[in-house]
Structures are given as C-alpha cells and as structure tokens.
C-alpha cells in the first residue's frame, strides 16, 4: 500500500518536473518561463520527496525530506524573484505579445545599464 502511494507520488512528481522542463523550453520569454515553470518544478520535487517519506516511513528520514521541501518552498520564490528582478532591470526583453506593462522604468532612475548579454 505504501509502495503504491509512494510510487504514485514519485510518478506524479516526475510528471510535474517534466512539464516544467517542457515549459521552460517552450515558453516565449524569460518572464513567462519563470512565471510558469519554476513552481511546477518545485511542486514536482516536493511530491517526489513526499514519496520518499512514505517509502521509508521513518521519522528521521521524513523530517529530512520535509526539511528539504520546506527549504525549497522558502527559497524557490525568492530565487525566482531575484532573477526576475535582475532580468527586468537588466533589460531582458519582454515577449512582444505582452499586453500590459505597469512597471515603469522611472521607478528606478539608477537603472540605466544595458543588457547583461555578453
């Protein structure tokens, strides 16, 4: 029974991970990639780890797996934020079909550097 639960969680998680991977390949610009996919990945990994919790059913292992999940959920959004912010300030272009942009450059007068592409 535990195997079934655990195996299903592994599979489900893997699917989310794959989806996110496909997403990152398919999405048109950096922002859409980040908006769409980084969390799917986080969720997928969380599910896989949950799978390990159910596989071993050991408090020590469970707490370690949970620690990873908690840590991932704490850090993933921050990471996405800092990169998204850096990209925007570094003038990584938006997809041409972006319909609205309320983030005015004047908010950040100091940001006048060119793109970070080398």
């Amino acid at each position: 029974m535990n195997d079934i639960l655990s195996g299903s969680l592994l599979l489900l998680g893997s699917v989310f991970i794959l989806l996110s991977a496909v997403g990152i390949l398919r999405m048109p610009d950096l922002y859409t990639r980040m908006s769409a996919t980084t969390k799917a990945s986080t969720l997928g990994i969380g599910l896989v780890l949950l799978g390990t919790v159910f596989y071993w059913q050991d408090f020590g292992i469970a707490s370690r797996a949970v620690a990873i999940i908690v840590f991932l959920f704490l850090t993933a959004p921050v990471a996405a934020h800092v990169i998204g912010r850096a990209a925007y300030l570094g003038k990584v272009p938006l997809w041409e079909k972006t319909i609205i942009n309320e983030f005015k450059k004047s908010e950040h007068p100091s940001e006048n550097g060119s793109s970070m592409h080398e």
């Binding site: 989310f16 859409t32 769409a36 996919t37 969720l43 620690a67 319909i99 309320e102 983030f103």
Partner: protein, 157 residues
C-alpha cells in the same frame, strides 16, 4: 515572532533534523537555537507573533488549493500546442506593511504558477507582478488583494 517562540521552533526543527524526539535532543535544540539567535540577533528586528493556529491551517489549505489549480492550468497550457497566454506586468498596491508581510505575500504570489513578483517599489507600497493570464489588469489586482493578501493579513495580525 518573539525570539522565544523562534527558539522553540528552532528546537523543534533540531529534533526533526536529528530524527529523534526526546528531552535530550529538545534541550540540545534549545541550546543550539539560543546560541544562533544570539548570534543573529541584530538581523531579526522587533516582530510580534501571536498564535493563530486555525487561521494558519486554513490559510495553508487555501494556498495549496490555489497552487494545485494554477499548476494544472499552466500544465495544460504547456502540453497543448495552442498558447492561451496573455502576459503582462501589473502594479499591485499593497496593504501589507511590514517587511515580513511583504516578503511572505510576494513569495506566495511567486509560488503560485502563472505569477511572479518582480519587484517591490522603493516606498514599499506597490508590488510589480508578472502574470501569464491577464485579461483585465484591475480584476487581476482585485483577485490578488481579496484572495491571498486578505487572508495573509488575517494570519499575520
């Protein structure tokens, strides 16, 4: 969050890490936690915390629901060849005030698929959010404020 509560939390976290629930590990956790809090004291500032366990639980459940729904939505978009996206960057005025509230809110927004907190204005009154499915900017703002932000404020205050 008072340092004391934080200390307790760290002690619990310690027990989890060690993988053994006992008075010994808890005491060790308390000690380790106390030491670390003393070390990191300047960084914590003055925060208040009062226990709202039920609120927290319902908030977590709400968020998980949102998370799964949004994930599925985006997943559908990824696996289907057609693109439903209408992305944009929206300025969301903030009611949350403290740094920790802003951070939590922004991170929860980011964690939800389809949205990404790009930046907080320097006066900390506006959050700029990149979203995949923007039909109406005003509506998007209201959904975010009435849903996630409202519940977060309930939990935090």
């Amino acid at each position: 969050m008072t340092p004391f509560l934080l200390n307790i939390l760290l002690a619990v976290a310690w027990m989890m890490l060690v993988g053994e629930v006992s008075a010994g590990t808890f005491t060790a956790g308390l000690l380790v936690g106390y030491l670390l809090l003393w070390l990191t004291r300047p960084g914590l500032g003055d925060t208040r915390y009062f226990s709202k366990v039920p609120l927290i639980i319902s908030f977590v459940l709400y968020f998980l629901k949102e998370l799964v729904i949004a994930n599925l939505k985006v997943a559908y978009d990824i696996v289907t060849p057609k693109n439903y996206m209408a992305p944009g960057i929206i300025a969301v005025p903030l009611d949350v005030r403290s740094d920790i509230e802003i951070t939590l809110f922004a991170n929860l927004v980011t964690l939800t698929p389809g949205t990404l907190s790009l930046d907080v204005s320097s006066d900390k009154k506006t959050l700029y959010v990149h979203a995949l499915y923007v039909k109406d900017a005003g509506q998007f703002r209201m959904e975010l404020k009435n849903g996630l932000e409202k519940r977060l404020i309930e939990v935090m205050r």
